[in-house]
């Protein structure tokens, strides 16, 4: 769990309920003990700047080059995983081939919650909370959209990476965290075989 700033506690509660263990990542050496990373919601400018200052961006890029290292970014985390950010662009990892637009749904007045259909999670709709949410303006060829809202992809996957414009940790539904934990487990099995 990247714990620079944002709603870290809510994600950790969900990870636990999804049957996995989590620990806080604040500095590079914290990465040694983790098999995957969640970048929470927060302010992408702040998180990106401080990740960069403390060497986490370089360390994570290096880690992802060594082999599949699952990362899930929610909201601010989506921005930090995007290759391209429209407008003011913060320091970031840039691992998922998407164009992201910050706060594109609008200011807080435009924040909303809605039930989404996310086919990979099954038939029951997912309660999604969008807070000053970003939009994905373009999906690269390597990126698979997993959920749509108002004609926009709001959740997507690219290899070991997962992004969502909304906050699954703000509801009681843990299916997305289970989905990510499963991704982490699979990546470990693959490494074990090779």
């Amino acid at each position: 769990m990247l714990a620079i700033q944002g709603d870290v506690r809510e994600h950790m509660r969900h990870i636990q309920r999804a049957g996995a263990e989590s620990s806080l990542v604040r500095v590079v050496r914290d990465l040694e003990d983790v098999q995957g990373l969640i970048i929470p919601g927060g302010e992408s400018t702040t998180i990106g700047m401080l990740m960069d200052e403390y060497g986490l961006i370089d360390a994570l890029r290096e880690r992802t080059q060594r082999g599949p290292f699952p990362i899930y970014g929610t909201c601010a985390g989506l921005i930090l995983l995007a290759t391209t950010v429209i407008g003011k662009s913060p320091a970031r990892l840039g691992l998922v081939d998407i164009d992201a637009s910050r706060n594109a749904f609008g200011r807080q007045l435009a924040s909303f919650e809605v039930d989404l259909d996310i086919p990979v999670l099954g038939r029951a709709p997912f309660p999604a909370v969008f807070i000053r949410a970003p939009q994905i303006q373009r999906l690269g060829r390597t990126v698979t959209p997993l959920a749509w809202y108002r004609g926009q992809a709001v959740m997507a996957e690219a290899g070991p990476y997962l992004v969502s414009a909304f906050h699954p940790e703000m509801s009681d539904d843990v299916r997305i965290h289970q989905y990510f934990v499963e991704k982490v487990r699979r990546s470990l099995t693959v490494k074990g075989v090779s």
């Binding site: 714990a3 620079i4 700033q5 944002g6 709603d7 870290v8 506690r9 809510e10 604040r26 919601g41 927060g42 302010e43 400018t45 702040t46 700047m49 401080l50 909201c75 601010a76 407008g87 003011k88 910050r102 706060n103 609008g106 200011r107 807080q108 007045l109 435009a110 924040s111 909303f112 919650e113 809605v114 039930d115 709709p125 309660p127 909370v129 969008f130 807070i131 000053r132 906050h167 703000m170 509801s171």
Partner: protein, 295 residues
């Protein structure tokens, strides 16, 4: 389910996203840019910082919409702004301006000496000040989606901020250790609604995010409040009344993140120039204490 705006989840959710961060008072777009570059998670747009409000005297009101707009244009992080306690029309104006959070604040001159704003009526979330648990829960009952312990604004003296946060923590522990059957009596004693007291017992903490405000003037002050259990920090006069605002802002943000690492705090505190000149509480007349407004 249809798309729903202004739900409590969405209101308190934005506060959750600000956790671990620093929110800075700014009066111009230039200051807002300095705050954003230093890593602030949000800015509070106002006409004067609390220290100057103290100096100026008279009635302090909501900022000129022009100031709010120019700051919104300058930065991409959330912009908050203050309204007078009970002044729901100032709040309507700020909602029309689409600020991201409204601070119903004792720093401005109260407009109503009996009632706070009915915050449930707004789509925009509110943050309110509190000196103890009862005050915090009364504000939450009125619809506040975020709390900040009050401290004493514009003094650069952290002592009241410490007092208020410790008191909230102490009273939360009291609620947690009180048996279910005695909670109604405790609720009466604290002046708080029983359902919220039960919620505090269940969670073991305030039901919303709680930042520390009113007196943080250095990196060490910020880390102190974080170690005492604050979810984040409001800095009012502490940044732009210091000798070197850029460096002070930079240091406070990093100390808030690495609040448990004295080495980092030492490093960022080095050579930042003088902090804002502080005020000793004993020199403050009762009429000049902002924390006693709207309780």
């Amino acid at each position: 389910m249809q798309e729903q705006h202004g739900t409590y989840n969405v209101k308190s959710g934005l506060a959750e996203m600000l956790k671990g961060g620093v929110i800075m008072d700014v009066t111009t777009p230039e200051q807002a840019t300095i705050a954003e570059r230093a890593g602030a998670v949000a800015v509070m747009a106002l006409e004067r910082v609390p220290a100057d409000i103290r100096k100026a005297g008279g009635v302090a009101r909501m900022a000129d919409p022009k100031i709010v707009r120019s700051i919104q244009e300058a930065v991409s992080i959330p912009v908050m702004a203050k309204v007078r306690i009970g002044h729901f029309v100032e709040a309507q104006v700020l909602e029309a301006l689409e600020v991201d959070y409204i601070d119903e604040s004792e720093v401005l001159t109260p407009a109503d000496d009996q009632y706070h704003i009915d915050k449930w009526k707004f789509t925009i979330p509110f943050v309110c000040g509190a000196r103890d648990l009862g005050e915090a829960l009364r504000r939450i009952a009125e619809g506040a989606a975020m709390i900040r312990t009050k401290g004493e604004p514009g003094t650069g003296n952290v002592v009241e901020a410490v007092r208020h946060l410790r008191r909230v923590n102490h009273e939360v522990r009291m609620v947690v250790s009180t048996p279910e059957g005695e909670l109604a009596d405790l609720a009466k004693e604290l002046g708080a609604p029983l359902d919220l007291i039960k919620k505090v017992k269940e969670l073991g903490r305030l039901p919303v995010v709680n930042f520390s405000a009113g007196g943080v003037a250095s990196a060490a002050d910020a880390a102190l409040m974080m170690q005492l259990g604050a979810d984040g920090i409001f800095v009012g006069s502490g940044v732009f009344k210091s000798q070197n605002p850029e460096k002070t802002a930079h240091a406070i943000v990093r100390a808030t993140l690495h609040y448990n690492d004295p080495k980092v705090i030492a490093e960022v505190s080095q050579d930042v120039g003088e902090a804002m000149p502080g005020l000793e509480m004993a020199t403050l007349d009762a009429k000049d204490r902002m924390q006693d407004r709207g309780i």
